[in-house]
Subunit: 664 residues, 3 copies
């Protein structure tokens, strides 16, 4: 596969920012000053027009597009490319006033009032008509502008709508899904429970706050529908862009493991993945290294959606955010460290929200490259300029890839199903955190993991960890069996294979759908532990592991028991098993073990597949990118506020200043 | 009085379960398997049809009743009786679609959407018409079935409705109650406060969330009305059943001290009391013995509603629940222990929710006798079968009674009035827990208490404890005086006799309505203590007691002071008094003393009336049932996870394994 | 200026209470008893008719006014004056039934049901018409009554309404404010952010719960509008009263730093300030002295609104409240202590809610002079009578004033702006508490502070502290400069001068609007600290100060650095500065220092202006009133439960019993 270069027109890695000149059109002096400062900060791109609808179309049918062309001209003349947004992130007041059907209806069945952003009805034909008009106007104006580098669709999609249009669309979606056979749906959702049988699709409603919430299949499908409908809307924008500017790539900006949308479904419609990152740096509940590891995990989620090409860090805060519980300043050096991590994880850009702080309204105190002070001598500006310098010198990195040999299985709909599952304890389910913790253990071994869907192709991987795979999508069980059969090392945990993709329980023993054969066991019961409940496991090699939250009681029929419970009425029964299956091995970890114990299992799995790993010194994070020739660029990050000296993987001595970075 | 046998057709004590064959009608293999497993578990009864309306009547007027007859036939052929539910626990979708007036209006004045269960408007004529039709169809089908052992009315009644029909009915109810004289109501509710005087009954609304909440009399009467209206609905079902099947007893399933309904009002309409018990076993905030004691208290509440006959444990979880904060497994042996407690407290049945786990929807992970695994070799199944064995051998117990000599006074409307009272601290009122704690102290003395209303006949009792009797129902004060006068020992506490049954304060000193004469004192002030406020009492015999939460300052005119405050500005003033009144004694405990100190008072009261008690070893719970000849069956329960050896009340040595049970 | 005597017709200081004879009209014996008890308690005033509308007008147009005249006659005959309320605190049921537009619409856009109180639409013409009628009837009845001492307008104004009338009025208010130029508003509110530009005023809505909340200017203006509209309503009542009874003064009762209304705007329309005080005495989170200090701060807020005349303590609880989290009894002596504090702070009255406890409804357990018991021998009654005695002997105090030389700047709209500001941490902003803490430090130095607006005349003061002056109202910056220039000592803190009065950020550096010149510095960044973040400052004199919550990083251009940070990346940079400006000095404290360190600064500022202070012994609170000749009355309060002996400011030995009071 040949290297994919996202921005060939830019020399180094793209250095960009959201930019809102539409807020300063009456201040040409400030717009002038912006260009001067951008060049000082080595900016190579600006994301323009993200909420500019009212600036383009101040009243219905009255268009003011010139300023956009002027801005893009000026940027281009100064070597700065434009990532141009469709302005559908927020609606003008006139539009809501005239077409209230564009505003969402909330779960309590009341239509929202005009305000805020990102709260459109994705089903509304009028909203689509109006966004279509303005997008076409934008294309008319600058569709062929040489500075136009990419389309940025709307902004941070999210949210649900319970309006009559959406209800009807949901019903139609369900009819399609269940072959217009209401009894198929009734069986799939087990509606005979509590007399919930439907006679026809028109009886089905979204899960209103004071409506139906007791059918897990309905709840899950509503979430899938919301993804489907949001994607459907997004495609309506893409269709126009692709038709008229087929050579301009499109993206939209994601947000971590956003719980509202299955990004993988949306990713299929995009040319490039991009996302917005706002870690809670320097917080009071975890180490800085933990915060960085979670950030790295989020990068891995994004990277894995299009693993054969780089992705983009579309937004990040140059200084601080304004919506965190505590909006703490990023310490000196952290901005560069954070930027280097992004690149190390596979991003080919570092971008910000925002270029210049707005004077008023909701985000006037959100960090920006240029403060209300307006000068280039602030700490933040200087740190940004330093990153600009770094990126400018990393042209060699462009298009190189992170190529993990380990993968973590994570399904969005599994997350939804687990959250909605009535049982266990809502306080301790923690599926996403469990995934991130496992990722962190591999990171400490110098191993980047991809984060993939349970039905993704697993051929590239030696080791796969599938925590809490409660719901088995069609094909998932076979996929896992195939992976192990051909020599892979698979580890699954408590809560594996309880339900199918409609959340119907498998009969005949968990893990279902054939997985009990893969692991050689059945889980008979699952115990939910209070915080004060103490248990542990002893491995056959004498190692110990603490246990908390969950503990399954197993019937092992065909697997080696490698650890047993120490306490409680299931003391002595198996808690960790291993089975050879085909050319690989399957591990089953029946309880929530401490991560040290998990790491020992991961090391064994890596060793068995001869996957090299390296136990990094405490406080050091490591990433590696490769080009198509196998040449590598290595990233060493000091994720502490202390100076650290250590040996690199290749054995060299290296000293990193606090929050220091070294790129080889 | 002759012994009342609830189920003469069954040899031992009834062993039953909720059973939902309507969820598996397309799986005859499973229905077949069910019968086989039921016999293995020694089940003698199944509760059928609880949410089967959609199975009976899949669309309006289309009836499918055959499956019911087939199932009951098959059960009966295999020696299993049917407790048959009316299906009004949940409405079919078609009914809500066509008759939305059957759906409730919430406190925020919005009608609910279709969904969930137990949420019908009890006032709706249409709902009554439709339930009438389906109940008649059921009777047509199996009203004369030899397997039909009992009617189970609807399921777990509860909840309120604020619809126009209910509003009107509430107004009519009030007009009746206050003799169609609005000024009577105005005086009773003291509506002159804040200018709340009503001109006519049509101005009165239910306490909407954004409506009137400042009239305590209204709030209380709304709760009484909800009980009245729910009972009125329930009677509409009973009327049909009694008319057509006069020999089949009726019950409905209660839920502990459910705060929404005064069960004593409903109990009058039922032949048998039954209830659903789901203790939070093995939790992190109390000992296991405490959990069991609370469970025993709940049994006592149920038993006392019809104290001259046994009651039924209609539901319990064989394994775990799925709606607890932590859904922890019941430890081995606990199921038998819990079942034996039920019988020891006076239940003649042990029944479960549910026979077989549903594959999907809200309760798919709720414990059941038969798991998704589907076999008879699970731990849970085996524990259930063991209980089946035990019950089968307890035919001697049938119809025997628990006959307490001590009673605890508890009024539902007193609970409502205390909760709604503006004063003290909402964080520490804890009326129900205070009652349960007192019950527990008697339990430790080997004494079963009944839990009775303040205006119940008290002739059977030697000792009566009336904690926090804030509201005096008509007749309550005289009832207490009569009890003491004829030789009873009565103990009351702080917060006694503040208001009448409309929550109007008594003038002239608390406790009002003549009770200050019974106790020989007036309570002048009540202090509410923060957690950090430390006080204590010293008894004349030198004993000490800790005090928390509440402390009244007394004026004692005619009683012996047996304890005084140690601290604060009321140090040295009386806190516990005793007065001889007629042939009995009245105690007043003016502060919330620790339960050890209370227990000493209880012992004195028992001794004075020559009521035998026995200080049980720690960890042992004891119950006794008697037949009409005075023969007794004794139950010793080890409510710890340790083996315990001790002397029984009759002086025999007994060793009980962890969670062990011995029935003599 | 000549002394203003609020109640020349009363000999001592007024001793009064809310009185609701309308609740007892059918009990003449109780009304008779009331008079007898009032005289025993030395009451000189009763506040009558506060919620008496339904008693005056039981149905529309039917008036029963005689009882009012009879009561006022009887009171007057017994030497008791009447403060007569307009009855608009609560509406009769018939009014809501017939004119639902008088009921408010909540933030969720639903109209409230009838109930509670203080929940009228202030815009409703019908409500104004109806209150106008009843007020005129009252004047007809007793407008010339010799016992009528004052008008008490409605009761405890508060709350918002989102009805169509209020929406329209808000739009009109905005049009007026912004010269009917929507673009002025757009610029002032920075609506270009997120495409929120308005085309006309009719598009602007109040901040509905599910509406616009992202425009800080809108949110702030809505709060200002609510004050404006409430005042507009209040003026509609005052207009009638002043027209017909021009010699009767008017007041309304305020509530501390009530967050819903800018009392200073309302104060302009009143003759006298009065307020309701319900401190959480003896709580579990602060010392008793802290509770008293906060109470004193609240008094200062009230006093400062009309600093050239006394104010009134309109309500307080004789015993306990009934709406606190814990309704604890006031310890013996506290009532007198609290009353003396009120007088020491400048109140010429001590008044209660309520005279006699109501028998039912929301406040039946709220403390009162006369309990349900109904006698004069209760602890509470006796403590009240003792205060009556004290007030009767304080005639010398009447009309004297507290004349502080120090002032604290506090703006209501600054409070609103800070609360609504997106940034920092919502958990630690604590603007009002920070003000109260500073006030407390001066109190410990024997200094009463006034609490004034940032644009108030500051000529009377030597020292001004302006904490967290985030928003600069027009004129505020010049006012501060003028104050320092003429020799004043000014101290400002972190978060000064960020935004203008529309919440637009100042460009060119904070503090803006010229204040960076006054302080000789710019604040470049503000760091928000977690609880666990430790920092401190070292002063040039070696003193240390702890730092928490907030820390700004400064660029000092023209000021002396008198303290520097000890830790973090800004260690060694300035945290406290001082600049000589004109004849005065300006201090800037860039971080939240502990109050001990702040107190040292305050002492220096007092010394530099030769303002005498005295470090009071722990547990002693001190206030001073002066008459126009300079004669003083001094108040020493023991705010502990221990006896304290100490030297007074004049050097005399004084011993105060627990909660003791000495007035010289």
């Amino acid at each position: 596969m040949s290297k994919k270069i996202l921005f060939p027109q830019i020399k180094g890695l793209l250095h960009g920012s959201d930019y809102n000149p539409d807020q300063w059109l009456d201040r040409p002096d400030i717009l002038e000053k912006d260009i001067e400062l951008m060049k000082k900060a080595k900016m190579t791109s600006m994301s323009v027009g993200i909420f500019a609808w009212a600036a383009y179309e101040p009243s219905e049918g009255e268009f003011h597009m010139d300023w956009l062309k002027n801005i893009m001209d000026k940027l281009y003349e100064n070597g700065i490319y434009t990532i141009l947004a469709t302005p559908s992130g927020a609606r003008p007041a006139w539009l809501d006033e005239k077409y209230p059907e564009c505003m969402r209806v909330n779960a309590d069945d009341h239509r929202a009032h005009h305000g805020f952003r990102h709260n459109h009805c994705m089903s509304s034909p009028k909203f689509r008509e109006k966004t279509g008009i303005i997008i076409n106007k934008i294309i008319d104006t600058v569709g062929d502008h040489p500075g136009l580098a990419m389309w940025h669709i709307s902004n941070e999609f999210g949210g649900e709508c319970f309006c009559p249009l959406c209800k009807k669309k949901f019903q139609d979606y369900l009819a399609d899904k269940f072959d217009h056979d209401i009894n198929k749906l009734n069986k799939a959702w087990w509606t005979s429970f509590w007399s919930h049988t439907y006679n026809n699709f028109s009886q089905i409603e979204p899960p209103y706050a004071n409506g139906e919430f007791s059918i897990m299949g309905l709840n899950l499908e509503w979430k899938r529908f919301t993804t489907w409908n949001t994607t459907d809307y997004m495609k309506s924008e893409i269709e126009i862009l692709k038709r008229r500017t087929p050579n301009i790539p499109v993206t939209t900006n994601f947000m971590q493991l956003f719980p509202g949308l299955d990004y993988r479904v949306m990713a299929k419609e995009l040319d490039v993945i991009s996302w917005d990152s706002y870690p809670f740096f320097h917080n009071n509940y975890e180490t800085f290294a933990d915060t960085m590891a979670r950030s790295s995990f989020d990068h891995a989620v994004m990277r894995s959606m299009k693993k054969d090409q780089p992705y983009m860090l579309m937004e990040s805060a140059p200084g601080l955010a304004n919506w965190h519980r505590y909006n703490k300043l990023k310490r000196p050096g952290v901005h560069k460290l954070f930027s280097a991590q992004a690149v190390g994880c596979g991003s080919d850009t570092v971008q910000y929200f925002q270029w210049r702080k707005s004077r008023g309204a909701f985000e006037q105190f959100h960090g920006a490259v240029v403060d209300h002070l307006g000068t280039d001598d602030t700490r933040i500006f200087k740190e940004v300029a330093k990153v600009g310098e770094m990126l400018d010198n990393l042209s060699k990195v462009k298009g190189t890839l992170v190529k993990p040999k380990a993968a973590l299985l994570f399904d969005w709909d599994n997350m939804w199903a687990i959250e909605n599952m009535r049982g266990l304890s809502d306080e301790t389910k923690n599926y996403p955190q469990t995934c991130a913790d496992i990722y962190h253990e591999f990171l400490k071994l110098g191993i980047d993991m991809n984060v993939v869907a349970s039905d993704d192709n697993l051929d590239d991987y030696n080791v796969v960890v599938a925590p809490m795979l409660y719901m088995l999508r069609p094909g998932a069980a076979d996929n896992l069996k195939k992976f192990v059969k051909r020599g892979g090392q698979l580890l699954a945990t408590y809560l594996t294979g309880y339900v199918d993709d409609n959340t119907l329980c498998f009969l005949g023993g968990f893990p279902g759908n054939g997985l009990s054969e893969l692991f050689g066991l059945i889980s008979e019961e699952i115990d939910t532990l209070y915080d004060c409940d103490i248990n542990s496991a002893t491995f056959t090699n004498g190692n110990k592991a603490k246990i908390r939250d969950y503990a399954e009681i197993l019937r092992v029929s065909d697997a080696d028991v490698i650890a047993r419970y120490d306490s409680d009425f299931y003391a002595g029964t198996p808690v960790v098993t291993r089975k050879t299956y085909g050319d690989g091995k399957s591990y089953y970890v029946a309880a929530r073990l401490d991560m040290n114990a998990m790491s020992e299992l991961f090391k064994t799995m890596l060793e068995e597949t001869e996957t090299p790993y390296y136990v990094l010194p405490d406080g050091i994070e490591y990433h590696k990118r490769e080009d198509e020739t196998g040449d590598t660029i290595e990233f060493y990050l000091n994720v502490t506020d202390k100076e650290l000296s250590f040996s690199t993987i290749s054995g060299d001595k290296l000293t990193l200043e606090p929050y220091g970075v070294k790129i080889f």
